[in-house]
Symmetry: C2
Subunit: 454 residues, 2 copies
């Protein structure tokens, strides 16, 4: 029988002290929200758009935001029957009008265009959306958000602190955030977990025994099967899995952290010590100790948003590893780091060099036609060391075309299956550096990445 | 449509000229056989054993022996009801009496004891056997031979040359001989092939399209299923596969040689140029060119007959390769050479060195009990580089115990699954030599082996 220590109240207090917005912060946020709502209204009036409503959504609107974050989501909601084009034009026109008062403004694009502004120090998204009848009838992904907002606001009352604890705990585990870079838990997802399990502690206890296929369906209205490791049916849309973005490894990482935390509930889970950049001397020492081969594929970071970049990077990581395996190199692990200017795909190999001789196994001797063709091709050919029969099959010892992994990538990287933007960047130039040569990469964030890598 | 050239008559003549016993040879053999038969009779009379019969068997008796070979098989046949002990005692007594006239005599042992003598330059086996009613009722394996003799003698008449051609062709291919070292075709098997197919050329044509499962049942009396690649049901015993000793690779090698021979029927298939011993300089060159790692396991050749030694060597070859693979070394190929004094197991590896770091994959995180035990064992332990979660499983990077293949074998060879006699020899001492160190092995026969190996 396992006995977990309970989570001490003092610990929760200590955490909340650091992450819970103060009354001053809350008041400030409320003021800004009201100001923004009024500015949107004013702008709409000025532009003669009458049917719009302003809706504050997101964690700021639900009282579940972490102190220090300054994100506000303002939804500018149009009647459902508004033509898409009109929604975009008028919505953005209103947003731009508001942006006149902002320190900074930037056009962004999800399914629709929206405007991101910095307004009195707050990071504000001004998002045009449709006012649809229910979340299952949305016309655009953002239309769902107001329904989430309503669902959570109606149920979270009094549990806001629990949400904050869970969010900060997930941050500490490195699994908070549903963007494609992180593939972790979204804010809405943490809120649903607290609504379902009732508290941070209950969530952590339950999660420590999760298995892939874990399903939570608060409204008992699930309509389809999902294949993701965690399925949290959206209470506002029976077809949607709120945890669809969560990767298997982050699902497992969270389970692992919950177990460890319950064994010894300490502050460090919420606020882990930062990793320090690895120094040259440490890099050399660790390379010497591991005696594997490190390859770094280096290229200019494509100028696209992270949600576009990271899926391509993860795909590249897999593609390059598969490519090396095809050429018989044994890949121990792969990693991705991307900075403002440079991006690095790291590959650790059993060895960066293979012998010249390569065993090439052909068809069984008795599959006459194939076997004869195979033999004809290789027997006595240039760069063939020899041939024999093994387990009934022709085997030729041929000269390996690429005995050096670095050379293989230098020659063939461009032929790997690469995403559009990475292909472009790699096509403009890339570099393969090996082992101690990675000391030439001085970016501190890369060096922090290296501390976990080596 | 394939068109094979026929086999030129001149070619067959040229071959037969070299391998067909001359009239003088035949006369000489007949004389010796008669002399031996008469000596056995005399000895039996002298010892007061009346019921024995003398039977000349083997290729010498069937006119299918190759010129230059001087083997005679003399079977001393006792009535079926003779007690086993008595057969052995009296049979060997008679043989020893005959051996008094021989240049050399040596006790040997198959299922029964028998005597091998050198008599007037001929290598003669004097074999006591039972005179049973049919080959399916034999009391000892040798009792079968006289039935084979009768079957072949009654059918081979006029086809002796064809048998000779097939035997010599198989010799050239390296697949002639059914002893456990060679695992090829026996003399009796070649005779049955000629009886079945009618000629050397027909046999070669048929064999070039053989597939595993090929079955020839001359008497149409097969009683059981066999799983060997080639099944030639013994005409004198419906349960026995005459080709049981033939390995898959020799089966394939023969198919391959038949195809090549039919494409260009030349003398070299019967009399291939001998391999020359590989010189030091050539060894170094070839090692340089291949850039793989060569390991040689060297030990004293156990003092046992080849039929005992070779199965143990082949088993060892497999066992050592499997052992190396278990420790993550990639074995390209394995080979065996055994001389009078020394025996060598050759192993070619992708690399003889692996990095210190070894990826140790544990259970999925959600298999709670196992996963927790695994993590506890490795986390923070000595000689652990780090840990992470990959594809839902805990992974720890641990220090490899044996990063060097040579060191692994030096330490652990004795724990591989080795046959009795090899275990004994290895236990008394062995050496692992690497790459150019094999130049220290000067045995010419080993150097011939190396020419095929490297």
């Amino acid at each position: 029988m396992e006995t977990y220590t309970g989570i001490p109240e003092e610990l929760k207090h200590s955490v909340l002290e650091k992450i819970k917005p103060t009354e001053t912060e809350k008041k400030k946020l409320l003021e800004i929200q009201e100001e923004l709502a009024s500015e949107v209204k004013t702008a709409a009036d000025k532009l003669g758009v009458s049917a719009v409503l302003v809706k504050m959504v997101g964690s700021a609107a639900r009282g579940t935001w972490l102190s220090g974050t300054h994100d506000i989501d303002v939804f500018i909601s149009f009647p459902e029957e508004t033509p898409r084009k009109e929604l975009e034009t008028l919505g953005m026109a209103i947003a731009r009008e508001v942006a006149k008062l902002a320190e900074h403004a930037e056009d962004r694009h999800a399914e629709h265009p929206y405007l991101n502004i910095v307004f009195k120090g707050f990071d504000v998204d001004l998002v045009p959306c449709f006012r649809v009848a229910s979340a299952s009838h949305i016309k655009s992904a953002v239309d769902r958000t107001p329904f989430h907002n309503d669902f959570v606001k109606a149920r979270i009352n009094g549990c806001e602190d629990e949400v904050l604890l869970l969010k900060q705990f997930m941050r500490g585990c490195g699994v908070y955030g549903s963007e494609l870079r992180t593939q972790g838990f979204s804010g809405y997802l943490t809120e649903l977990l607290i609504i379902h399990y009732g508290s941070f502690e209950n969530t952590v206890r339950a999660a420590s025994s999760w298995k892939p296929g874990e399903k939570i369906d608060i409204m008992q209205h699930s309509e389809i099967e999902h294949r993701e490791p965690l399925v949290i049916v959206d209470p506002t849309d029976p077809k949607r899995n709120v945890a669809a973005a969560l990767s298997l490894d982050n699902f497992c990482m969270f389970i692992d952290c919950c177990r460890e935390f319950l064994k010894s509930p300490e502050l460090k889970f919420f606020f882990p010590a930062p990793f320090l950049p690895l120094e040259d001397r440490e890099i050399i020492e660790r390379l010497e100790s591991r005696k594997s081969t490190q390859l770094a594929v280096l290229f200019k970071t494509p100028d696209v948003v992270e949600d576009v970049l990271y899926p391509q990077l993860y795909k590249m990581e897999q593609a390059v590893a598969a490519f090396l395996k095809e050429y018989e190199f044994s890949v121990i692990k792969t990693g991705v780091w991307s900075g403002k200017n440079e991006t690095v795909i790291m590959l650790e190999l059993i060895s960066g060099a293979l012998p010249n001789v390569k065993k090439h196994i052909g068809p069984p001797v008795w599959v006459k036609e194939h076997a004869e063709k195979f033999k004809e091709k290789y027997e006595g050919a240039e760069d063939v060391f020899g041939g024999y029969i093994e387990n009934g099959k022709y085997v030729f010892e041929i000269r390996r075309k690429y005995p050096i992994a670095k050379g293989l990538l230098e020659n063939q990287l461009i032929n790997c299956s690469l995403g559009k933007h990475i292909h472009q960047s790699v096509n403009e130039g890339f570099e393969i550096i090996e082992n101690a040569e990675i000391c030439s990469l001085k970016d501190l964030d890369f060096r922090i990445f290296l501390r976990k890598w080596l």
